[in-house]
């Protein structure tokens, strides 16, 4: 099917989208689709999902050959949010591949999946310049507009790789606009590729403010952490801070949602601290369950060292929860002007003191010192579906 120029059909290409294996990964892409699809004639989401495995070079060759043979024989389209079509294509690759080669593999997979055709859309919006932006470059209609949203928390490492930086530069040459989800990401990008400054602008990850909390938070007793169990997230300091606060108030509980390399050490430390009865590890859960958990807890605590945006913090406020979070890049931008209304922001420190002190301050001024309704109103205006969809539709179609 060929669409006439000007048609409001959009193809979204992404390496991240929630799956059974990783239900959290790419949840922000899914919300972007959910928010923006209703204003389009139609939308196709092309999810090129990395399938890593520890394999030998010979096995790699055999797998790539088999993958090419299977692609034309597979059914890979279903439906997703907003009535969009979801095309799912795995991208097989060995476990250790650099950024440039990862992008090349995505391109080769897309080429095979398209079977010589161009992407059938006048507007193509990719998430991540590498791999997705690079993957689509040779498969766009000449008149197609290309937009990129950059979320990568590893962008600095990516741009430090000369081959990857060169490819990124080419994506920026071709694209109409590149959106970043925070000033931190923009700074990293423009430090490496300053000549593209005029194409780079900020965009928010859309957040739904439509699901009300059954009853408001009345005490800050049930703590919640949602995210990867990795060093960058500072979960170890969060656990230590919780232990100290629990020593002062034994009614406190902590639910840790997520998986990662620190899962084992954190469980061991919990046992060492004697907190097994009050700290719960749920593992990864799908985004729907995460939102439900937010409505069943009293306080979101995040101790991240660095975040480009920090979707979870905004989602927590949307769910009617106060937040205790570090000034790690994203939250001070997303909560600008409503820090005190939404909760407490603390410094990033390599210990638990800031979190403990922050909790005490928050507890002492809760609930009178907060204004969650005002925080929700402001964040809805900034990051609600309507605001984010309007911005996308304007740049896509005007």
């Amino acid at each position: 099917m060929t669409l006439p120029p000007g048609s409001r059909h959009v193809t979204v290409v992404t390496p991240w989208y929630p799956t059974r294996l990783l239900p959290f990964r790419g949840a922000f892409v899914q919300t972007m689709v959910e928010a923006t699809a209703p204003g389009c004639d139609s939308m196709t989401v092309l999810h090129c999902d990395r399938w890593s495995a520890r394999i030998t070079d010979a096995e790699d060759v055999e797998i790539v050959r088999a993958h090419r043979a299977l692609l034309p024989r597979t059914k890979h389209t279903s439906t997703t949010v907003g009535g969009s079509a979801l095309t799912y294509v795995p991208v097989p690759m060995p476990a250790e591949v650099n950024f440039a080669d990862t992008a090349r593999r995505h391109e080769a997979t897309l080429r095979a999946a398209l079977d010589g055709e161009l992407i059938d859309a006048n507007v193509v919006h990719v998430h991540e310049a590498l791999p997705s932006g690079w993957a689509v470059l040779e498969h766009l209609r000449p008149e197609a507009k290309l937009f990129v949203t950059e979320h990568a928390s590893f962008l600095e490492a990516l741009l430090d790789e000369p081959g990857a930086r060169e490819m990124y530069d080419k994506v920026l040459d071709r694209c109409d606009r590149l959106f970043v989800v925070g000033d931190g990401t923009r700074d990293v990008l423009l430090k490496a590729l300053p000549r593209h400054a005029d194409k780079v602008s900020l965009v928010a990850n859309p957040i739904s403010f439509d699901l009300p909390r059954p009853s408001p938070v009345t005490e800050l007793r049930r703590w919640l952490y949602l995210g990867g169990l990795i060093p960058r997230k500072g979960v170890n300091w969060l656990l230590e801070a919780f232990a100290k606060c629990h020593a002062e108030d034994s009614s406190l509980t902590l639910t840790i949602v997520g998986d990662g390399e620190l899962s084992g050490p954190l469980r061991a430390r919990t046992k060492e601290l004697g907190l097994q009865d009050v700290v719960t590890f749920t593992g990864s859960v799908d985004p729907g369950v995460a939102l439900r958990l937010m409505r069943e807890h009293d306080l979101l605590v995040h101790a991240s060292r660095w975040e480009s945006f920090g979707v979870t913090v905004v989602e927590a406020v949307a769910a009617g929860m106060p937040v205790l979070v570090t000034r790690c890049g994203g939250p001070e931008e997303t909560l600008a002007g409503i820090e005190d209304a939404a909760g407490e922001l603390v410094a990033v420190e390599e210990d638990d003191a800031a979190l403990v002190e922050g909790y005490r301050r928050l507890r002492d001024r809760f609930p009178q010192g907060l204004d969650l309704a005002e925080a929700q109103r402001v964040l809805d205006e900034r990051y609600g579906y309507t605001a984010v969809a309007r911005m996308h539709h304007r740049v896509w179609f005007e």
């Binding site: 799956t19 059974r20 294996l21 399938w51 890593s52 495995a53 394999i55 096995e59 055999e62 797998i63 050959r65 088999a66 993958h67 043979a69 299977l70 024989r73 597979t74 059914k75 890979h76 389209t77 279903s78 799912y88 294509v89 795995p90 097989p92 690759m93 990864s284």
Partner: protein, 172 residues
């Protein structure tokens, strides 16, 4: 809906466990073919999901029956008779330290070389005659399963009605 999951690489376990559960929850049947059930010991499959160790498919072959007799049953019988009450633990030790190691390190590589397409032929047979009704869909669940999937499709023939997907969510 009858679905066969090829999960020989065991690199996307959560997806396989959840998708197979979703298939049976929707009233279908799910068979998961794995390279070794040992790799999946900690995975909680839904009770209705059939998990099939690929090696079991070979159990009726002559070469496998000979190995069972010579490497497992024969020595184990002798140990039991010779050691009486201590025979049970001796058999367990022999199986873990000698027989299984021989099977993995010597027998399987030779067997795989001699009968390169035996697995895919047997899996194809399973697809066609696996249960009360033949499978309608094959889910290729990880990259290591891709070469096997190609071989299985070759055995099924180009006119096979069996469909291929990367995830059961695409057919549920």
């Amino acid at each position: 809906m009858n679905v066969l999951f090829l999960a020989l690489g065991a690199s996307r376990k959560r997806a396989v466990v959840e998708e197979s559960a979703a298939v049976v929850a929707s009233g279908g049947t799910a068979t998961v073919v794995v390279a070794s059930t040992r790799q999946w010991q900690l995975s909680a499959f839904a009770p209705e999901v059939k998990v099939l160790d690929a090696s079991i498919l070979h159990q009726d072959q002559l070469l496998w029956r000979i190995e069972r007799m010579v490497v497992y049953r024969g020595p184990e019988f002798v140990l039991k008779r010779a050691l009486g009450r201590r025979g049970k633990s001796a058999v367990r030790a022999y199986r873990n330290k000698v027989a299984d190691r021989f099977h993995r390190r010597a027998f399987l590589p030779v067997h795989n070389r001699l009968s390169k397409d035996a697995s895919s032929r047997l899996i194809a047979g399973r697809v066609v005659r696996g249960g009360p009704q033949p499978c309608e869909w094959i889910v290729v669940s990880d990259s290591r399963s891709m070469p096997e999937a190609v071989a299985v499709l070759n055995h099924l023939g180009s006119d096979t009605p069996v469909g291929l997907v990367w995830s059961a969510d695409q057919i549920l």
